[in-house]
């Protein structure tokens, strides 16, 4: 019932077709070439190291017949080495408006390569794939699992699909994911001679062998014997380290709409075409726009007024049918229904701005705090979200239209600090959304507290959060019910032995860097440990770091600090009379390239004054820095857990 997840609006992901590790295998009939032996004993040891599964064979053939017609044939053979690899052996394949599955054959083999079982498409469950948070879409999926558990075993999948659009190609990803090695992988595109096939190798130099046959050109990529890799704590995402080749169409057609994706200009024109004529507002809304903005002279104020109107009068509902996965609902639809997805709401916002004489732009972006970076020089469908921006010289305003509560001009961790495609009349342009520094993302906590001789704590806690740091408290304010908030505050917020937050209050200041102010009244029985005549007190009451890195690993990849932040704690803790300090931790001050940390404590006859400041920038460190990073975080951990001991006089 209660989602203590993150703050964000229902992730408005409108199109999930990126087949990164989809165990969605497919396969086709007559594959020439290597005679298959499925005997798992034949797998070289180098491919078993660190591996839970081995891709024995991976063949994908895409035959483009026309910009609106293609056939794919896939053949995948996986040997599962242990139970952690079971998910690779399970079969799931989705289909939708633009593709249908013609055939599927799955075969199970034992370790020696003896066939145990074979199933076809008709044996599989057919289910709706409407995702959580979506009212309706047209994806469905086929699913099958042999549930075999005598390891190793081998699964052979063959699938053939027909496509009535070639909007989006599967990329060639010879190494699926961590812990999976690949013996042989091949990707083939067969296209009419004059069709421009587009591809771009990433983290590798794989180039196709191109041959001709009649009026067709055949592009073949092939590789093999790739050992399994592992990923690391705070390391780069798989797509930053694994070799793969991006594939995309040039000319394409979907549901009667024609386009070309060779340049961002052409891409932008296609999206503009989908939006053409969809910015008409009903008369009452037009009137409303003028009512809200005509009296304002400042354009920024006009934008804010319209954004506020949009937020108050719409909410996010996702319906993705057919080309509707790419095409927004018209502005008048949003006006009457008062709902839409990211595309529809942004399109509506742009229409509102237009009515007020302001040029707003529709911007496609890949959203999510851990979204993959964009490959700028390879136009293709890389986005999963749409926002609005209003260029104003240097002072562009950015608007997230799926949230009813977000500040105008704040992108945060969801869409901030990344490249996006602005769709203009003349096509698409790369733009960059604002980034947030350690000055923007802050948490300043001021605590006024007292403990008694039993160690019971009573504290007034005032915290000011800003930037990305305010996203969670913002969610607590707006997306939690009173009840859920109370429950969260009283069970999850602090690592105190037993405690109660009996008063809470939140206030928001909207802005480019939004701020949330939080007041809490906290009671924690026995917070300080009273043993005999001593009181043991951790002066860092609320923010002790628990971050420790595993020490003995050999580091292969960069260490990434994603988010910049500054934490400041200043605590005044009154202590009972009659105690004198017996042990007081020394001040700590660390100033390194990994971050700056300072903690100091002063004990006087009636109080303890503790101060702590910790600042880190968003940064990336080479593997050679890893040992020093381990030490850095150990020092912080230790400093945060330093104890004061008071003894009765």
């Amino acid at each position: 019932m209660n989602s203590i997840s993150t703050v964000k609006k229902p992730s408005p992901v409108w199109e999930i077709r990126f087949h990164w590790l989809l165990a969605s295998c497919l396969l086709a009939a007559p594959f020439c070439g290597i005679a298959q032996s499925y005997n798992a004993l034949l797998i070289p040891d180098s491919l078993k190291k660190n591996a839970r599964a081995v891709v024995r064979e991976d063949e994908f053939i895409l035959e483009i017949k026309s910009p609106a017609k293609a056939v794919t044939k896939e053949h995948h053979v996986y040997t599962i080495l242990n139970e952690n690899g079971d998910n690779i052996g399970g079969f799931t394949s989705s289909y939708g408006k633009f593709n249908s599955i013609s055939s599927i054959t799955l075969t199970l083999y034992d370790a020696m390569g003896k066939e145990l079982k074979r199933v076809k498409k008709k044996d599989m469950e057919d289910r709706s794939a409407v995702s959580e948070g979506t009212l309706m879409d047209d994806y469905r999926y086929k699913e099958y699992n042999f549930y075999y558990k005598v390891y190793p075993y081998t699964v052979d999948c063959q699938q053939e699909d027909e496509h009535t659009s070639i909007l989006d190609f599967d990329d060639w990803i010879p190494l699926y994911n961590s812990g999976i090695s690949t013996q042989h992988s091949k990707y083939v595109i067969i296209a009419p001679k004059d069709y421009k096939v587009r591809y771009k190798p990433v983290n590798c130099n794989y180039q196709p062998v191109i041959t001709e046959s009649g009026d067709k050109k055949i592009y073949t990529w092939e590789t093999g014997n790739l050992p399994a890799r592992t990923t690391e704590v705070a390391g780069p995402a798989w797509k930053e380290i694994a070799p793969y080749v991006l594939m995309a169409p040039s000319e394409f057609e979907a549901q009667g709409y024609k386009g070309n994706m060779s340049t961002w200009t052409d891409y932008g024109k296609f999206i503009s075409q989908l939006r053409a004529g969809r910015d008409v507002l009903p008369e009452d809304i037009k009137k409303k726009v003028h009512e809200l903005t005509d009296h304002l002279t400042d354009s920024r104020q006009k934008v804010y007024a319209l954004y506020d109107f949009m937020q108050k009068n719409t909410h996010y509902i996702s319906i993705q049918l057919g080309i509707g996965g790419w095409q927004p609902f018209p502005a008048d639809y949003v006006a009457t229904k008062r709902y839409g997805d990211c595309k529809a709401l942004s399109n509506y916002m742009v229409a509102l701005l237009k009515e007020a004489g302001i040029k707003g732009k529709y911007v496609e972006i890949r959203a999510g705090s851990d979204a993959a970076f964009m490959i700028e020089d390879f136009p293709s469908f890389q986005s999963n979200h749409v926002i609005t921006c209003v260029p104003m010289g240097k002072d562009t305003i950015w608007l997230e239209c799926t949230s009813q509560t977000e500040s105008p001009d704040f992108m945060g961790s969801f869409t901030g600090g990344r490249k996006a495609i602005l769709i203009d009349e003349d096509g698409g342009h790369i733009v960059k959304t604002p980034s947030y520094s350690s000055r923007d993302n802050t948490q300043c906590r001021s605590v006024n507290a007292a403990i008694d001789a039993e160690g019971n704590l009573e504290a007034d806690v005032n915290t000011v959060y800003s930037g990305i740091r305010q996203e969670f408290p913002h969610g607590l304010m707006y997306e939690f019910s009173d009840d859920e908030r109370e429950k969260y505050l009283n069970t999850k917020l602090f690592h105190l032995p037993t405690y109660k937050v009996d008063k809470n209050h939140y206030e928001e200041q909207k802005g480019t860097i939004p701020v949330v102010k939080e007041y809490l009244h906290v009671l924690s029985p026995n917070y300080a440990n009273a043993s005999g005549k001593r009181l043991f007190i951790l002066p860092d009451i609320f923010d002790r770091s628990s971050y420790r890195l595993p020490a003995d690993s050999v580091r292969l990849y960069d260490f990434i600090d994603k988010e910049a932040f500054t934490y400041i704690d200043s605590i005044t803790l009154r202590i009972p009379a009659g105690y004198k300090p017996e042990a007081v931790p020394q001040d700590v001050s660390i100033d390194s390239k990994f971050g700056k940390y300072k903690a100091s404590v002063k004990v006087s006859s009636d109080k303890i004054v503790y101060f702590r400041r910790w600042e880190e920038a968003a940064n990336r460190f080479p593997p050679s820095d890893y040992a020093a990073l381990v030490k850095f975080y150990e020092q912080l951990y230790k400093a945060d857990h330093n104890r004061i001991v008071l003894v009765k006089e």
């Binding site: 019932m1 209660n2 139970e83 952690n84 079982k117 469950e125 057919d126 289910r127 709706s128 409407v130 009212l135 309706m136 699992n145 042999f146 549930y147 075999y148 558990k149 005598v150 108050k312 009068n313 909410h315 509902i317 009457t336 229904k337 008062r338 709902y339 009813q404 509560t405 160690g455 707006y478 997306e479 939690f480 019910s481 009173d482 009840d483 908030r485 429950k487 009283n490 069970t491 690592h495 105190l496 032995p497 037993t498 405690y499 029985p525 026995n526 440990n529 043993s531 005999g532 005549k533 001593r534 043991f536 420790r548 595993p550 003995d552 042990a583 230790k638 857990h641 104890r643 001991v645």
Partner: protein, 673 residues
């Protein structure tokens, strides 16, 4: 025998005439009847932080004659909700599930939905368009009608109504009075003709504000399809008893930790068809009783039919599987281990077999029913008496002891009688040992299903005692650090969890994580885990550790519990609405011996203490003592029960607060001058 302590089922009367209609209080809302005054809820009582409030939720089920020569059910549902703020927008997303079986399916007719907004004092309505209602074909047996209300904003009132028509007489719609939002008026009416008898099951902590019944005479028009001949129309008169239940100002449901499932506590009413008698025919018994249901289950291909066969196809394999077994017990153990280690459980919640056990045996996989039915068949094949036992797992809710309501069950285990002992077995989990069943099965009443009997069996969480024992020795062997030897035998289920963890990540990673849980610089050596491959036994975990001591300090503080003990109170929430249901009782003992470090003397020792929990229901002791060279501590916490009433919650919370405090106390050492 202990019967489920929190069984809240109250049986209401069947049939007519037990209640007479009293006050005819009307429901507060009707579709389409709305004025601006209805938007003002300031006089109504509901929880202050609510995001939405249900003004009225009204359902009715009745029987109608159909054109297939029988009866159908018609369920009418009307609901009006006020959206108070944005968090309540979710209440405007509606899903109506419809059941499909072969050519028969439940149908939704006359769906209407309207949003009302108050604009300048006037009520403005926006209707749902037909094309905005989507059909999601979920799977073979279920589809869903889905829609969301248009023109929604904070303060909107939304309402919808529909009729759902069903040929499935077992699917007389249940009614849940309590939901995610407060409800001002929740009402359900059911009219049951005397032809049919249903058992009514009502549960929850909330009383009915109205609970009435009356009877009337009804004519049912039934068409009998004639096939090649003409259809025949008939009319039958029968007495219909109308029941009406109303709850007002129903609080929302709220989840809490240590609850098996809210399903056991939500205010709701359900119906189970017991029998019918149409015209002058014989009474047709549907629900039956436990012995009869048991007999039928044992005859059914979906359950026990294969157990009654001699299963000769097993002959050869059984010889191999039981090879070397000296007696029945050893045979049973070998068979159990074979099934457990070679079969994959594809679905842990099932009471029926979809596949004959011969096929299950060949495919090496099956759902929990199939796997444990196969286990029973294999035991029977070796002349060991084995019967399936059906039960409901903890998250699935309690079963009914009196009525054989099979939908309340979702799990099958196996009972084996060997010599004079009774064993309960579950071969669906690789980590389970012979004679153990998973914690999720400890949910009270269960039934042993056999040809001629249906004996109840009881699996109470209170009966599961998890006992752990940890010992630590710290000596002065090396300079500048404390050397310790740590040994622990966790409880059985804790051992299972660790076993799974070790299997996932490896022993090395397991100890690495343990090592980082120690404060300061601590290194491990000689680590090892006993009984890792013997799922019948608890584990034995041991390691040596060296902990650095800062010898420059005059004083040195040391928590003798090390990383053991409670750091935080498991009962954090200050209030409690439902009983506390933990998965087991427990008894954890921690024994600590320490040589006083060279060059130091004990400056201060925590005080010994012992507290009792509710007199004899448990205790916590912390006994510490020292002599010239050694310190000894024994910390033990024992709770005799797993389940507690709401009233005991504050005591539990205080008890653990004391445990946490005591277990964080420090020994103070001082350098000798």
């Amino acid at each position: 025998m202990t019967f489920g302590k929190f069984t809240l089922l109250i049986l209401l009367g069947l049939g007519a005439g037990t209640f007479k209609a009293t006050a005819q209080e009307k429901s507060p809302a009707r579709f389409g009847k709305i004025t601006s005054a209805d938007f003002d809820l300031s006089k109504q009582k509901f929880d202050s932080g609510a995001a939405a409030v249900v003004i009225a939720d009204i359902g009715g089920s009745e029987f109608v004659g159909n054109v297939k020569g029988w009866f159908s059910l018609e369920f009418k549902h009307y609901k009006r909700i006020k959206i108070l703020n944005k968090n309540g927008f979710d209440a405007a997303n509606i899903e109506i599930p419809l059941y499909i079986s072969g050519a028969d399916e439940e149908k939704l007719v006359s769906l209407k939905a309207v949003t009302y907004n108050l604009e300048n004092g006037k009520v403005v309505e926006t209707r749902l368009e037909d094309k905005s209602v989507f059909t999601d074909n979920m799977s073979k047996h279920w589809k869903q009608k889905k829609f969301t209300f248009p023109a929604l904003k904070e303060g909107s009132i939304i309402e919808y109504s529909y009729t759902q028509s069903s040929d499935f007489l077992f699917n007389l719609q249940p009614w849940q009075f309590q939901g995610e939002y407060s409800c001002l008026w929740s009402e359900y009416q059911v009219g049951i003709p005397d032809f049919f008898q249903y058992v009514t099951l009502s549960q929850g902590f909330l009383p009915y504000d109205l609970n009435t019944s009356s009877s009337r005479n009804v004519s049912f028009h039934i068409t009998f399809p004639g096939g090649a001949e003409r259809d025949e129309n008939e009319t039958y008169e029968d007495n219909v008893v109308d029941h009406r239940w109303v709850m007002k100002n129903v609080p929302p449901l709220k989840e809490e930790k240590f609850t098996t499932t809210l399903n056991n506590y939500v205010a709701k009413i359900e119906f189970q068809i017991a029998r019918y008698r149409f015209r002058n025919s014989m009474i047709k018994d549907i629900m039956g009783n436990w012995p009869k249901v048991s007999e039928e289950l044992m005859k059914s291909d979906d359950f026990g039919a294969d157990l009654n066969r001699n299963n000769g196809w097993l002959d050869d394999d059984m010889k191999v599987i039981t090879k070397g077994a000296a007696n029945s017990l050893q045979k049973a153990q070998k068979i159990y281990a074979y099934v457990r280690d070679n079969f994959t459980c594809t679905n842990h919640y099932a009471i029926y077999a979809a596949t004959p056990i011969k096929t299950v045996f060949k495919n090496k996989n099956g759902n929990v029913a199939e796997i444990n039915l196969l286990l029973a068949a294999m035991l029977n094949h070796e002349k060991i008496q084995a019967d399936p036992v059906i039960l409901s797992t903890r998250t699935h809710g309690f079963t009914h002891e009196i009525y054989p309501l099979l939908t309340r069950f979702n799990y099958v285990i196996c009972q084996a009688r060997i010599d004079s002992s009774v064993w309960y077995l579950d071969a669906s989990e690789t980590w389970l040992g012979f004679g153990h069943i998973p914690e999720r099965c400890y949910n009270g009443h269960a039934r042993v299903i056999s040809k001629d009997n249906a004996a109840p069996a009881y699996f109470e969480a209170d009966s599961v005692m998890e006992t752990s024992r940890t010992t630590v020795f710290i000596s002065n062997e090396s300079k500048g650090s404390l050397s310790g030897a740590f040994q622990t035998i966790p409880g059985y289920f804790e051992s299972c969890t660790i076993r799974e963890k070790v299997k996932d990540k490896g022993e090395k990673e397991y100890f690495k994580a343990l090592q980082t849980s120690y404060p300061g610089e601590t290194t491990f050596s000689n680590s090892g885990i006993d009984s890792l491959k013997i799922p019948e036994q608890p584990l034995g975990i041991s390691y040596n550790f060296a902990m650095k001591v800062d010898s420059s300090e005059d004083l040195f503080y040391f928590n003798p519990l090390l990383t053991e003990g409670y750091k935080e109170n498991p009962f954090k929430a200050a209030e409690r609405r439902y009983p506390v249901e933990m998965s087991n009782a427990f008894d954890d003992t921690y024994v600590f011996n320490m040589e006083i470090p060279d060059g130091y003397a004990v400056e201060e020792l925590p005080k010994s203490a012992k507290v009792l929990f509710n007199d004899d229901e448990g205790f916590f002791e912390y006994l510490i003592a020292k002599d010239d060279n050694n310190i000894q501590l024994r910390s033990r916490i024992r709770l005799n029960k797993a389940t507690y009433k709401q009233e005991d919650y504050a005591t539990l919370r205080d008890f653990f607060a004391f445990v946490v405090k005591k277990q964080s106390e420090q020994i103070v050492f001082k350098k000798k001058k």
